[in-house]
Each structure stands twice: as structure tokens, then as C-alpha cells.
Amino acid sequence: MEGGSKTQSGMDKELDVLIIGGGIIGTAIARELARYKLEVALVEKEADVGWGTTKANSAIVHTGYDPKPGTLMAKLNVEGARLYPSICEELDVPYKRIGSLVLTPSEEGFKTLEQLKERGKINGVIDLEIITQDRLLELEPNISKDIKGALFVRDTAITSPVELAIAFRENAEKNGVRFILDTTVIGFEIEDRKIKLIKTDKGYLRAKWVINSAGIYSDEIARLAGDDSFTITSVKGEYALFDKEVGDIVNHVIFPLPTETSKGILVLPTVDGNLLVGPNEHITTKEDTNVTEEGLTEILSFAKREIPSLPMNMIITVFAGLRAKELKRNDFVIEPSPLVENLINVGGIQSPGLSSAPGIAIYVTEILKDKGVKLLQNPKFIPERKAIRRFANLSWEERSKLIAEDPNYGEIICRCEYVTVGEVMEAVRRGANTLDGIKFRTRAGSGRCQGGFCGPRLIPLLSQLLEVSPEEITKKGKGSKLVIGETKR
């Protein structure tokens, strides 16, 4: 198996940079740093990248009209959004510029839309247009007739956050970054206000610089190093995902009027053609990704007011994610730690964190440069990465050719999303070692039967490919085994 480094053995040499946390931010930084001649590693507590906030958000690349001018959010969002098209092309990740609509149900709401438009101008976002009901209904025929108009943002895009994190990882790995998965940072050894040693549950690591991009846990990581300069509040958002059959009930990202702290409950198509509704906003603990009955009612009844024809019997799954908010600043916290010399905090990356990720990666690199880290170009840097070929998206001719080359592409294992054994094998080659790892790389199990058909078939297949017993196969790493052993014989 390529990919996933296993232990710290062989990590005796001091790293230049250790990144803590393999979400969209950590992996984006890893890939950015791979451009330079640096010894870089990334440590992640889960078995794969992108399994925290990255896997449960709205998957939108915002243009940046919304954040308060002058904030890091405003600056990095606009910067990130500008970089997205080329990054997604280089890394072969879905990116669809579908545009968004901010709806107003009242005449007074047009004032807010004007303010948003003005804010957008200050932030450097062009192509914002306020439209009336007639035009809105042309663009979105399923929207309620109670909606009076909207702010039309043509450049809003959607992407696939976990695929992007995986792509960042694969590309960073190819360019020399090491990924230490399934490993939790449990403490630091500090000397003269500097991190000397990073303690993990699998051993020690040494690094000149530590970047803390631990998402919801970034304040805890900072505190382990004696830095209490910021606090993360965990804010849960619940979502419902609908069958592809109704994926085109809207064509744009549909926003309500925003509040000061939230963009509200959205309705949008996903890059894979499903329909997504959510999120709500409830302060909670760092471990709580429970979906609640009340929460579902809240998001669905809200969405139903905007889209009256929303078919509730077409929901295929529900989930919840956590946003890492720094409520005091209400901005990203991206700065050298005020208390620990070689620690850089990248915390409070709530929305528009995904949109800002490429901008954040560059910004963090600049902080390192300011701190005197020598950034020599890595002449061998390869910017491109190819995605696993999606059988479902190929033409008949391409399918014929692919099966002739490798018959494993002629065997469909996920009947809902038309995923082949060939794709599963490729995902394993690229480091997937769990059912969720396969799902995020190939979509096997993410369709309408939610793994009912492919699940029992994938367990023995993974067992064979990974050369471990079926009892060792997990859904999502430690503690999530799928079967307990063989039946009576």
C-alpha cells in the first residue's frame, strides 16, 4: 500500500515543519509547503484526511462578498476563490461555477441585499446583481412565490471538500511530504518558550516549526503548548442529503438573508448531482455530531418555505458537522503564537474556511518566511495530480477501452453510483484502508441505498486487498469495526 505512513519510527531526523491536523487547511498547507525544499510532515488523529469539519460542510466556494471588510476572512476568501479554478484543474477535483442567490422574502430585505452588494465591492467582488422576482423565477422556477427578489452572485462555485483534501494529500505526498495518520498529538516538551518535542500516542516527533491546524481541537493543541490566546467554540450544523433524482430542484446555491454570524440554512446542488439542505447552527461540544429530530425539522421546514416542492421522501442520509468558531474575534486566527515562538496557530477556520483554504496556505507560508524560514523552490515539484477515473462519468467508448485494459473496471460493486472494483482497487492503492476512505474516493456507498448493497461485498474485498482478516476492516478507523468474526461452522 502506498501512502499512509504508519509510525514515527524512521522519523528521527528533525523536521522543518510539522503540521497538526489533516483537514482541508492542514492538507492545503502541506501541499503549499511541498513547493519548497523543506522537510515537512503532517500528523492526523483519524485514519484518513478530511474527516473532521471538511467532510460535513456545504462545499461552497464563496466569492467573498459577505465577510466584514478588513478581516482576514474577507482578504483570504477573495484570494482563495481566485485560486480555486486553477487548483481544482491542477489537482483534478470537481469545481462547478453555478452561482448563488441570496433571497429576500420582503421589500425591506432589498436594503440588506444592497448592503451585501456594497460590501462585496469593498472586498473586491464584482459581478453582483440585484434581481427581482420575475428574473428569479426564470432562474429558479421552484422557488416560492413569496420570495420578492435576490442578490445574484454569478461566481459562487461548488466543489468536493474531502476530494480536495485527498488531492492535496496525494500531491503533497508525491512531492515529499510525509503523512502520519491515526496518530494523536498528546503533548509538547517546551523549553525557552519553544516546542522541543511533539509527543504523540505513537511516539515522539521533532520539528523546527509547528503549524496548528487542528480544526475544532486547535485551541486544545495550543493549550497543550501553554498557549491560551484563543478559544474555539464548536458550532454544530445539521444537513440532509437528497437523492440525485431531485438534484436539479435548484440550479444555484440558495441562501436566505444572512445574519451577522451566519449565512443561514441553504439549499444547493452538490458536484455529484445530489441536493443538500442545511446547516442550522447550535453551540455544542467538540464530540457532538449527533443529528437531532428537532434539528432536522428546523432545516427542512426552513428549506420548505423557500422551495415548497422539496420532496421529503427523497432524503438519502442526514449528517452533522462542527464549525470551529473563535467567537471573540469572529475572524480566522492565523498568526504566530504570542506565547510559543515556533508555533503558528491556524484556528477558528469557520465559514468561509473552505473557500479561503488556498489563500490560508499561502498566508501561512508567508508567516514562515517572515519568521526567517528559507523558502527555496523545490525544482522537482510536480503540481498536477490525476483523480481516480470515475467509471460512471465515462462514455461507452471509454468504458470499453478501460475494461479491455483492466477487467476490474467491468465489475460494478456499487450499484447506485456505478462504482467498479477497479476504482476500489485504485483507491486502496492510493491509501484508502477503511469503508469511508473508499466511499470518499470512489462514492461507493454514498448513493441511495447507502451501502446496503456494496457494504457486505466491500468488507471481503477490502480484506483481500489489504491482506487482513475481515474483522480488521473498519468503517472509519479505530473502534469502528464492522464485523466481529466468522459465523458458526
Binding site: N290, N408, G452, K476, L482
Partner: protein
């Protein structure tokens, strides 16, 4: 792309596909039977319990044995060509496109199509059950496949949500494998499956059935650690420590391919709207088995598939004569009726299939036409979990008017 042509393509090699292919083949048509698994039989292969064949063949057998009786006959016919491990991805203008390892993409040009894709299980997500999303949540059919085909045990302490037949059968199966089955929760006041399964799978093994109960929370971040069960009448909640949840909360006819070719579906059955020959609104496209309506007994699937297989052959040989079409409507206390329409004239009054809305006792089934009522039959009990099959009366077929089928009785 490999191209072949035939008279009839049957999609799906489960009980419906087997019987319709067999009947079409026996009547002399060239048949291509396409099955996505590596063997014929479909879900029957994982149904190693008995209870199959009693009504149709007069002997009780296991699922694989039942399948085998059809497979043996089928492979003896040289005009039936079976494509295994072949998944149909698309249908366009009577060309069926599939893929497999050997041929790559294969296009089968045909005169008639029999849809026999079966159904899938409703999932946790579709129900929106609150809680975390750990490992250890399986649909009953997935667990059945794991245990009976792969030989793998999903867990030790089990709770089952939904009292569908597969759920109850799996309660017994898991018990026999040494697991602790703590109960079956059913949100309705009556069981979802057959009475015989309540007795033989739950009562005989002292597995409690909690009616009016559901799961209001799933606990455990990585693997299931427990559930909170809720009594929907008293709102009382209690926790149960389990490592596995099985879901038997309904089956959905799998009509994604049907929709691609414009087959009209009945929102009540989830399956195509058909006439008594099981022909859909698309000429020469037939449907049978669980893709048409979710059955309780495989014997009835087979009977329905024979009708569809014969219908396909008669379509090709232009033997049908359709002068007028009438609708059969679900009336009072009737959830749905299959077939939904009749192509007339017709020699013998056909059977219709339906389910009551709720459990009833001492009931009568009436066929109404033009204000007149005809008694079709009487039943001591009628329950949603048990499909009713009854023959229409000659008098209902003489006019051009639609028929309404209703049920009157005492609520149980």
C-alpha cells in the same frame, strides 16, 4: 462494444427474472437473461431459511433450493442465454446496455423487455433516525448477506428496528448464531410482516416485539454503543446497550432503470403501472416481482413472472388484442391494487393483488362498477403485512367503466 440481438431481455436473475425468462423460453422466444451477481437466484441465495414453494410447488424448501428448481429448467433450454456478473446501466430504444469483465460493454437489441430488478431496503438516512453515524448499523438484508453468504457476524448484542419479514427472520438467524437479540421495535401498533414469522421467528425464541416503539437516538461515535428506544404512545424512553442495529423498515422497488425509459410509476407501490399482462405504459416493456410490487411470498413472485414472460412473448408474436382499457382503482381501506389497469377484452377474469390500509377482521372485498357492488370474497382477517389476491368477477369486465376495489370490515 459487443452487440447481440434477441427477442426478450430479462433484467435481473432473481425469482422474478428466472420465472419470466423460463416461461418466455418455454414458449419459444430467444431470451437474454442479465444478472449482476456471479450466480442466478438473487436474494433467494441468502434466504437459507425454509418457507419457499409451499403454495406453488406443494413442498417447503429453502431459498437456494427454490431457485435451483428454476435454474435447472432454465439452463436446459438452449434459447435462453444467461449473462452473469453483468450490470445493466442503460436502456435506449429497446437496446439494453450492460457491462461485465469478459465482454466489456455489451449492447443487447431486443423486441421486448421484462424488468425484474427487485427492490432495495429503506435505509437509516431515509428515515432520518437521530443520533451519531457509527459502524454497526445494517439493513436486515445486508446483515443476511454478511452472515449467510460471507459467513461474517455483524455483532453480539442486537436490536432490530422494524418488524418486516427479513427483520424477524434475521432475529431468529442471529439468535441461532449465538447473538443476543434484545428486541424488535415496531412503530406501528401491528407487525409489518407475516403472522407466521411473528410466531416462528420471535415468539418461539422469546424475542420481544415492542409495538408502538421506535429508536429515538443512536449512541456511539465509532461503533454502535446503544440506542434510546421510545414508546410512541407514552413517550417513555429507555436505553438499551447494543453493538448492532438492524433495520427492517421497508422495501423500495428499484426502478431507476425503468424511469430512464419513461415507465410510469404508481406512487403507492413504487412500481410501474401495469395491465393484467404486466405490461407497463411503454410498449413491450413488462415488469414483475418486487420491482413491480413488494411481495410477501416468492410463490406469488413466480406466478406474476410467468404472466410477464408470457405477456412478452405474446407481444412479440402480436397475439394481443386490445380494444379498450379500464382502470382499477383502490377504494375504501385499500392501499393499492395491482394491476392498475385492464386491457380488454379478456377471456378469464384476472386476479388482482392488494393490501389493506390497516388491519381488519370479518371483512368483505367488493368490486364496484357504475354504482353496483359485487362481492369478490370474504376474509376473517386482512392485514397490511399480508397481500391479498382475489379474482375479479366477469360482470365487472363487460363495460368500459373503471372498477373500484374496496374493503369493508371491523377494525382489528
Amino acid at each position: 462494444m459487443k452487440e447481440i440481438s434477441t427477442d426478450v431481455v430479462v433484467i435481473g436473475g432473481g425469482p422474478a427474472g428466472l420465472a419470466s425468462a423460463l416461461r418466455a423460453g418455454e414458449l419459444g422466444a430467444n431470451v437474454v437473461l442479465i444478472e449482476r451477481d456471479f450466480e442466478l437466484g438473487g436474494i433467494l441465495n441468502q434466504c437459507i431459511h425454509t418457507g419457499f414453494g409451499l403454495s406453488l410447488l406443494g413442498i417447503e424448501m429453502t431459498g437456494p433450493e427454490y431457485a435451483e428448481t428454476f435454474i435447472e429448467k432454465l439452463i436446459s433450454l438452449s434459447n435462453i442465454n444467461v449473462l452473469l456478473s453483468t450490470m445493466v446501466l442503460d436502456i435506449k430504444d429497446k437496446v439494453v446496455y450492460g457491462v461485465n469483465r469478459r465482454d466489456g460493454v455489451i449492447a443487447v437489441k431486443t423486441e421486448a423487455i421484462v424488468l425484474a430488478m427487485g427492490c432495495r431496503e429503506r435505509t437509516r438516512g431515509a428515515l432520518g433516525i437521530p443520533g451519531e453515524r457509527p459502524a454497526g448499523i445494517f439493513t436486515a438484508g445486508s446483515a443476511q448477506r454478511l452472515i449467510n453468504i460471507e459467513g461474517l457476524m455483524p455483532g453480539k448484542r442486537i436490536v432490530i428496528l422494524g418488524s418486516g419479514d427479513i427483520g424477524m427472520i434475521m432475529a431468529r438467524r442471529l439468535f441461532l448464531e449465538g447473538a443476543e437479540v434484545l428486541g424488535v421495535l415496531e412503530k406501528l401498533p401491528y407487525p409489518g410482516g407475516l403472522t407466521r414469522n411473528v410466531v416462528q421467528c420471535l415468539e418461539d425464541f422469546d424475542i420481544p416485539l415492542y409495538l408502538n416503539h421506535t429508536i429515538s437516538e443512536i449512541k456511539g461515535r465509532y461503533r454502535v454503543e446503544g440506542v434510546v428506544a421510545e414508546n410512541l404512545l407514552t413517550k417513555k424512553r429507555f436505553s438499551v446497550d447494543v453493538d448492532t442495529i438492524l433495520l427492517s423498515v421497508g422495501l423500495i422497488p428499484e426502478n431507476e432503470l425503468s424511469k430512464k425509459i419513461g415507465v410510469q410509476l404508481d406512487p403507492r407501490t413504487g412500481g410501474p403501472v401495469v395491465d393484467q399482462y404486466r405490461e407497463t405504459n411503454i410498449d413491450g416493456v413488462f415488469a414483475c416481482g418486487n420491482v413491480l410490487q413488494v411481495h410477501d411470498l416468492v410463490d406469488e413472485v413466480t406466478r406474476e413472472a410467468y404472466i410477464a414472460g408470457e405477456g412478452a412473448v405474446n407481444y412479440i408474436s402480436r397475439k394481443r388484442r386490445v380494444e379498450r382499457i379500464i382502470q382499477i382503482k383502490a377504494g375504501e381501506n385499500v392501499r393499492y391494487v395491482v394491476p392498475q389497469r385492464l386491457s380488454l377484452p379478456i377471456d378469464t377474469p384476472p386476479y388482482i393483488y392488494f393490501r389493506p390500509q390497516e388491519p381488519f377482521k370479518n371483512c368483505q372485498i367488493l368490486g364496484k362498477i357504475d354504482g353496483k357492488e359485487f362481492l369478490l370474497g370474504s376474509y376473517e382477517y386482512a392485514r397490511p403485512g399480508e397481500m391479498i389476491k382475489i379474482r375479479l368477477k366477469r360482470e365487472l369486465l363487460d363495460s368500459n367503466l373503471d372498477i373500484e376495489v374496496s374493503l369493508i370490515g371491523e377494525k382489528e
